[in-house]
């Protein structure tokens, strides 16, 4: 018999029931809930008179729709009546169903995928769901984590399970040693560029290899975060000593004997040497350049020293048309060197890149420099605790002195549901994960980059190869 993969192991450990048709009832260990995809689920419970099966396995907070400007007025002072109602509704629902709710003025409040790991709510080997596609982030700990729709949110609340069919195994080997200017974001973009936005559809990805082992936990979160951009159901990294070191002592992580027992179990969570994957690709991190997207799909990736692609070079008609459409939307001309493309806005934040390591990296580039006058740049920390830590380290001062706005935690301009959004035609260097048409505001033009590249664009006014900037500095 051949060995099993990490995904197989977690899957097998969570199967409650297997139907004859292959669909399985899977146990869910943790459920993160936010304000946008949950109101209709709670309404469903009320209408059917159902209760929440395991309230202590749920953690709720508002992040998508929350203002990132001064919040001292509290929820009542939120200007947009719909946003306010949605946040109040979540708070009310949590009270009604007995769920832990991290309020807006709680220092732990932040983006759900930042707060969960930070609190030790996320642990290896668990199944974790949330009504948000970037739940894949938690895979960085070796947890099987994926996004679900609102009907499934209701299903998990009522039953603590999900009906699932098993995905296939896809291993992404990232070999070589990444140069110091290559971040987890570049690796993530390289993978999406390589396999395409549907390349992972029907699969769970396992990221493996020396370049993955070398990544920090923050970096692994960035990487797993973008698994969904490759169409995958989830992304996984096997837990290791870094994982345990990150989690030990966190508020919701096990303590004492439970901790020791948990770690002993977590050590069994890796793919067997003879495990068979349905698909594998290998990417060499040692020769990656810093990357930037040029189009309206995360797979539209190009080296910072490259140029806007020419649709005329594309043979496939559907692809050519889609490239033409993207360039038209993005207001770009084929052949333009990416480094000559001027930007209007910079967004450093989102569940992809808003952790302390990201802010440190961006601050290192911004330090002593100034955001060019034509650019407006903002930094939105991933959680209140990250904001606090950054302030302790004086990062806020570096950003503010350089001319960046320093905001309160939330999703902000990653999806532009609140007031933080691009105006039509504005071009943004963004550390978020999606560059879809209108994602950051109707008519807005998003280019995905690492925090370093975003900071570099802010202080130069155009996309800039951080390799050159670093050499100067």
């Amino acid at each position: 018999m051949t060995g099993t993969t990490l995904y197989d192991k977690i899957w097998n450990a969570h199967m409650v029931d297997e139907q004859a048709d292959g669909n399985c009832l899977m146990y869910i260990d943790r459920h993160l809930v936010h304000e946008v995809t949950s109101p209709q689920a709670f309404e469903g419970l009320r209408m059917t008179g159902r209760t929440v099966r395991a309230p202590h396995k749920v953690l709720a907070l508002a992040d998508h729709n929350i203002p990132t400007t001064d919040r001292t007025g509290g929820v009542d002072a939120i200007e947009d009546p719909e946003s306010k109602l949605q946040i109040q509704t979540l708070e009310k629902n949590c009270a009604e169903f007995g769920l832990e709710y991290v309020a807006m003025d709680d220092i732990r409040q932040g983006i759900v995928h930042v707060t969960g790991p930070e609190q030790g709510f996320t642990l290896p080997g668990l199944t974790i769901v949330c009504g948000d596609s970037h739940t894949s982030t938690h895979g960085a700990f070796g947890a099987l984590a994926h996004g679900i729709g609102t009907s499934e949110v209701e299903h998990v609340l009522a039953t603590q399970t999900l009906i699932q069919s098993k995905a296939k195994n896809f291993r992404i080997n990232v070999v070589g040693e990444a140069p110091d200017y290559i971040t987890a974001k570049d690796i993530a973009l390289a993978i999406v560029g390589e396999i395409g936005t549907a390349g992972g559809t029907g699969y769970v990805l396992e990221y493996a290899g020396p370049a993955i082992e070398a990544l920090s936990i923050e970096g692994r979160m960035t990487l797993c975060n973008m698994s969904i951009e490759a169409g995958a159901r989830a992304g996984l990294v096997a837990p290791d000593e870094k994982t345990y070191a990150f989690l030990e002592g966190r508020a919701k992580a096990p303590k004492g004997a439970d901790w020791d027992q948990a770690v002993a179990y977590w050590r069994t969570l890796s793919s067997d040497g003879d495990a068979v994957f349905d698909k594998e690709v290998t990417i060499d991190a040692s020769d990656l350049p810093p990357l930037v997207t040029w189009g309206t799909s995360p797979q539209d990736v190009i080296s910072i020293d490259g140029s806007v692609p020419n649709p005329a070079d594309i043979k496939d008609e559907a692809r050519r048309k889609s490239t033409e459409r993207a360039l038209d939307y993005m207001g770009l001309t084929a052949g333009t060197p990416m480094q000559e493309v001027a930007i209007d806005r910079v967004f450093i934040g989102s569940c992809t890149n808003s952790r302390i390591e990201d802010l440190r990296a961006a601050a290192a580039i911004a330090k002593g420099k100034t955001v060019v006058p034509s650019v407006s740049a903002m930094v939105v920390p991933g959680s209140g605790l990250i904001k606090l830590q950054a302030e302790k380290e004086g990062l806020d001062k570096i950003f503010i002195d350089a001319g960046f706005e320093w905001r309160e935690p939330g999703c902000s301009m990653c999806l532009a549901m609140n007031a933080d959004k691009l105006q039509p035609g504005e071009r943004c260097a963004s550390t978020s994960n999606r560059n879809f048409e209108g994602r950051q505001g109707r008519g807005g033009r998003t280019h995905l980059v690492s925090p370093e590249m975003a900071a570099a664009a802010a202080v130069t006014g155009h996309f800039t190869d951080i390799r050159n900037l670093k050499a100067e500095g």
Partner: protein, 200 residues
Amino acid sequence: MQKFNHLTGIAAPLDILNVDTDMIIPKQFLKTIQRSGLGKNLFDEMRYTPEGEEVADFVLNQAAYREAEVLVAGDNFGCGSSREHAPWALLDFGIRCVISTSFADIFYNNCFKNGILPIVLPQADVDKLMDDAKRGANATVTIDLESQTIKGPDGGTIAFEVDAFRKKCLLEGLDDIGLTLQKSTSIDTYETALADQPWR
């Protein structure tokens, strides 16, 4: 959930690759705490100008497709955000079936929970249906879930695959949660065994 068994309706062609859920229903409409009423904002930023005027050449604004019940679309339909507002908006508009060469996982799942049938077909079949759909109001298709077939306007029949369990749920309009609650004892047993792993 609304049942789905048999549908005869107009198919609208949406010949775009990677239609994401941000396109299907932009985020400004996610502030609602209800499921209904999203149909008027389906494909909002493609369908209306910033001033709120209809964009004449957008497919669902054309006379032939205003009553469309089927959407024929390019590869990787429904990628991006997990928002179930996307199928809610489609349903509220009147779309009960989407046909493409592939769908993003979460969107595909969400459709079944809302009585929408997503059909995956090989490129050649989608091309054919896309062609037919482009011919306008005459391009009525008939979809029969029981026999898993699509009949085109010229009488040709295309067969499709669908998971047996999902098919049953759609045909009978079954409530997933109700079905799962019938297995409460299995869940109880599973939870009892969890005592061995206190951190869970």
